[in-house]
């Protein structure tokens, strides 16, 4: 299972890549493995306000459906349109082409509560 060092994580299995005021969000390799084949991803439209810790979308797989919890406070700037036709990108490349959305961080957003790669690895190691 892959947990890139440079990303931050939530306990609900999202990853975040913060680049200036823009945060890219996806689900982790652990999450996509647990879900199985992803068939549909729903995320808020650009312009939607999102709040850290709140459900903001869902991922449907063959076996189940899971909420996506927004990791940060801000406004959705862009969603991954490729997932419309090819939701399996979430399985094949969860940290790359399978990204879900980009969020413009609020000026006062405080991502310090997000987990480091080591902390996330600790969280998931018993479930492997």
């Amino acid at each position: 299972m892959t947990i890139p060092d440079e990303l931050r994580y939530t306990a609900e299995h999202e990853w975040v890549a913060i680049n200036g005021t823009l945060a890219s969000v996806g689900i982790t390799d652990f999450a996509q493995r647990a879900l199985g084949d992803v068939v549909y991803v729903s995320v808020p439209a650009p312009g939607t306000r999102v709040t850290a810790g709140e459900p903001c979308g869902e991922v449907e797989s063959t076996k189940s459906v899971s909420d996506i919890y927004c990791p940060v406070d801000g406004e959705v700037a862009e969603v991954n349109a490729d997932l419309e036709d090819d939701p399996a990108l979430v399985n094949s490349d969860p940290y790359g082409a399978g990204w879900l959305m980009k969020v413009t961080l609020d000026p006062d957003a405080d991502p310090s509560g997000l987990l480091s790669a080591d902390e996330y690895a600790d969280l998931t190691k018993d479930s492997e």
Binding site: R33, G36, D37, V39, Y40, S42, E58, E60, T62, K63, S64, V65, A88, N91
Partner: protein, 377 residues
């Protein structure tokens, strides 16, 4: 021997090491550690529809009922008529409780005149064995839970017959649907049955536990160039759902009768003697149905799941028993119990206000005939 259960530790099938070496994601199911998926359930599902899939079903229960009174005991214990089966034939049937509720759905094989093998769902095996023992009392018959003495491997799909034919002495052209023959696969003695739970042609092979890996490997070699892939429980579930086949715990339970499930045909009232559930089932056969098992197709991409409420004009009208994104049809499909009046309305008005409450939002759906998928013959 298959591992006996310890406290809280799932049982393993004889093929566990094979699954792990294939990189399977394992899951606990009905007290067993089983392969959920290997490469991915959608590709496994599609392989079964277009070529062939290989399944470990060793969690299924095998209960032997033997003796001069075995046929009469089973006629009394089950809703079908096993006494009418010719040796070498099998039948889908059910075991009900006195009020007509379904204790389990079963396949009964008549191996010899006085020898039957009852195949039960893993989750119900102990309960079914106990009920059969109880109901066989007073008959000259012995009931024995032999689950630990069998492994069960299924090969399913349009290429299944030609793959299996290349490594067995059994002439598969002589093996009809729902027939079981003893034979040799690779070097191993098996009970070979033309049965399955996928909607495709296929076979189920009962082997000794110690032979399971040999049979699995032989089939893998024989089918490797013919599209055969290992397939897990996730694919098995979407395959049976597309084929409109009920699953115990979803469509079938103690709370429903065979008539509710649209399977009243399995109840044989014409057989001689009493059977458990006869009076209640006879009443249900005459009464208007309390609910109807229906097929639904979702209009959005959100998937109706087990337990979700079905609505008509925003009022509760039923409950989803199974639902999944159909790999073959590319849309969400579901089976649901509907109020008969709503089922009629929805049947007559395909554009009517039928919906499924998917986590607070009513997503439109339409009624469809079961099964969702029927193979070309």
């Amino acid at each position: 021997m298959i591992t006996e259960p310890a406290d809280g530790v799932p049982r393993s099938t004889p093929l566990r090491a094979v699954h792990e070496s294939l990189g399977a994601t394992m899951t606990e199911f009905a007290g067993w550690l089983m392969p959920l998926r290997y490469r991915g359930e959608i590709s496994e599902h599609q392989a079964v529809r277009s070529a062939a899939g290989l399944f470990d079903l060793s969690h299924m229960g095998e209960i032997a009922v033997t003796g001069p009174g075995a046929a009469a005991a089973l006629d009394y214990a089950l809703v079908g008529q096993p006494s009418a089966l010719a040796p070498g034939r099998a039948r889908y049937t059910m075991i009900c409780v006195p009020d007509g509720g379904i204790l389990d759905d079963l396949i009964v094989y008549r191996l010899e005149h006085t020898e039957y093998l009852v195949v039960a769902n893993a989750v119900n095996t102990a309960v079914v064995a106990a009920a059969l023992r109880d109901r066989a009392a007073g008959h000259d018959a012995q009931v024995s839970d032999q689950t630990a003495e069998y492994a069960l491997i299924a090969i399913q799909g349009p290429h299944a017959a030609r793959i299996l034919a290349s490594i067995t002495d059994v002439n598969l052209d002589d093996v009809k649907y729902y027939a079981g023959h003893r034979g040799i696969v690779a070097d191993f003695p098996v009970l070979l049955a033309r049965t399955g739970y996928t909607g495709e042609d296929g076979f189920e092979l009962f082997t000794r536990p110690g032979d399971a890996e040999g049979v699995w490997v032989a089939l893998t070699r024989a089918g490797g160039d013919d599209g055969l892939v290992p397939a897990g429980l996730a694919a098995r579930d979407t395959l049976r759902l597309e084929a409109g086949m009920p699953l115990y715990g979803n469509e079938l339970s103690l709370q429903v009768t065979p008539f509710d499930a649209g399977l009243g045909r399995v109840v044989v009232f014409g057989k001689p003697g009493d059977f458990v559930g006869r009076a209640a089932l006879a009443e249900r056969a005459q009464a208007p149905p309390q609910r109807v098992l229906a097929g639904l197709i979702g209009a959005s991409r959100r998937v109706p799941r087990h337990g979700y409420t079905v609505t008509w004009d925003d009022a509760s009208a039923g409950v989803v028993t199974s639902g999944a994104p159909s790999p073959t049809l590319g849309v969400p499909i579901a089976m649901a119990y509907l109020e008969p009046a709503v089922a009629r309305l929805a049947h007559d008005d395909a554009a009517g206000p039928l919906a499924v409450d998917i986590r607070g939002k009513h997503e439109p759906a339409r009624l469809t005939d079961l099964p969702f998928y029927r193979r070309r013959r």
